[in-house]
Symmetry: D2
Subunit: 182 residues, 4 copies
């Protein structure tokens, strides 16, 4: 059971990252920081005769990593009550992968388990719920199992480390992932 973490935050050691690091502490995993990679916004070519063309950015490289791991952790700050734009750009491009003949995206992805880790200010346990529902539809569409989520509260750097409930859930998930890797 290999683990890939996709970090959607635009800054280092933000609250979503801190909380996610508790989840994967002492567990072997692969990290992708989306902010450090080039991912262009989708240009929808589903309905043009020529279809999608290769895009010269890091998207395919990240997809290949995604396809070789069993457990995917989507870690994002709650930006304006949604995932970060850079993470949204990455997921929007899945439309391109669904048409790709290089791999069978949907079938491969349908065997994976997904977790979502969110941190934000302004009552995230309530105002982050639409994002959880959105992720549920996303995972459902590709047949991925939505294995769990954690919502942490925090605005200023480090705040989330005071959210006892979120930390507890992170430790519980850490224990569970450690078990699964045995």
């Amino acid at each position: 059971m290999s683990i890939l973490v996709l970090y959607g935050s635009s800054r280092e050691r933000g609250n979503s990252e801190l909380l996610t690091n508790k989840v994967v502490e002492n567990i072997n995993h692969t990290r992708v920081y989306l902010r450090d990679r080039q991912i262009q916004a989708i240009v929808d070519k589903r309905h043009t005769p020529e279809g999608f063309k290769p895009v010269a950015d890091d998207y395919e490289d990240i997809v290949r990593q995604l396809l070789t791991h069993d457990i995917l952790i989507f870690s994002t700050p709650l930006y304006w009550y949604g995932m970060s734009g850079v993470m949204k750009d990455f997921i929007d491009r899945w439309s391109q992968s669904l048409r790709s003949s290089d791999y069978n995206f949907k079938e491969e992805v349908s065997r994976k388990q997904a977790y979502v880790i969110i941190a934000g200010g302004d009552n995230p346990r309530l105002k982050g719920l639409p994002l959880i529902q959105q992720f549920a539809y996303i995972f459902d569409f590709v047949g991925m199992s939505f294995a769990g989520y954690i919502i942490g509260e925090g605005s200023k750097p480090g705040d989330v480390l005071s959210d006892a409930a979120a930390l507890f859930e992170a430790r519980e998930l850490n224990r569970k992932l450690a078990q699964m890797r045995k």
Copy 2:
């Protein structure tokens, strides 16, 4: 009552655009096609001593247009059950505008009315609801009035023109906007 339309689609004459055009037909309005503009993803500098720095892209130009109109129409396809990444990138940057001393973003924006026009396949009247809720939180945060929304169904180009209910709502809103401009 001046109207600004923000188009979030990645292609010309997609379903969200067609539906939105019915809303503003024969009414004077300003259009911004986000796909044609450069909008970088936010780099969150709220908690760094130096704060946000100017970004060399089209964001500020679009914000200035936004600030000079009374009615804002957010038009987006339903990409993966959310707004398009490029529209999300634009809204994420509002965090920067909230800190800007060039204008009083929150106060100015709080006087505006917002409409949302969405088109998508895969049962958008149900699976687009989290996005509507997300927009509600966004508008609420800046004090903007959420004046209405329309969800149209359509995957292939032109499909939405067969969605009688969405077209009816578009015509009704068109009539209402025409009245308001008198």
Copy 3:
């Protein structure tokens, strides 16, 4: 294709009823006014050795009507952002039907199509969305197809007859149901 309408309102000719009547105008259908029937709240006996016992009220009679129709229309005012208590009491009792040996509730119900008609004040097109999502989970659990919904706005008696969009959708659905019955 036979149609059963379940009215959840506590009063005659309320807005949800008026709107629903537009949907079934000139179409043969069966009506159940839940306010006129005795439906006790569920007493959960799923985990007691003796199980559920017959309850002397109108519940089973209504279920039998439900089982003999193909299309179910759930018509309810938006009371406190949910369905009316009497409609909730009716649906809660489905837990009892799932255990009943008198019929195969889940299998029979899974072949039916469900529509939801809601009317309410206080921005129902936004604040009624959690109820739509709740109905989606309900129908999904029993395998019923969620064929559509209409949300009308209205507080005072007759208000909904001024909601042009809701009336349009009611007429469209009326046309569709009339077609299906041919």
Copy 4:
């Protein structure tokens, strides 16, 4: 800071009750078991000339208890992805209280803090979210502060005592409430 717990479950020692008892353990509080009281469904008389009339049941007695406490805990199983019918019947009747001249319901209630404790099977952390959103609208309408919620997982009796995250949150809330009472 006095605490009132409203239990919406239809059975003794169900999972929602067990979880709630952890929240109020060793803290002085008042309990109302809605299943043991008579609460008739609302008959909406807001628009009839004579208005609401007194109803011979336990509703007003429970409202009086509600009005004399500072913190309200709504404890309900997740029945069909909503609160139990009996709890819904109780809240529906608030429409009557809003019209009552015996007390100023909205003003008094607006000074209270509300917590929601839910337990259910079938992925409640996801499928219970519409109910959380519904409670948010309810509390918002009367100006009550939505101070927090806990969702526990459990179908069979006692199951929730294996939900470590829910139990942790219950203990945390217990500590917080104990502090507030000092």
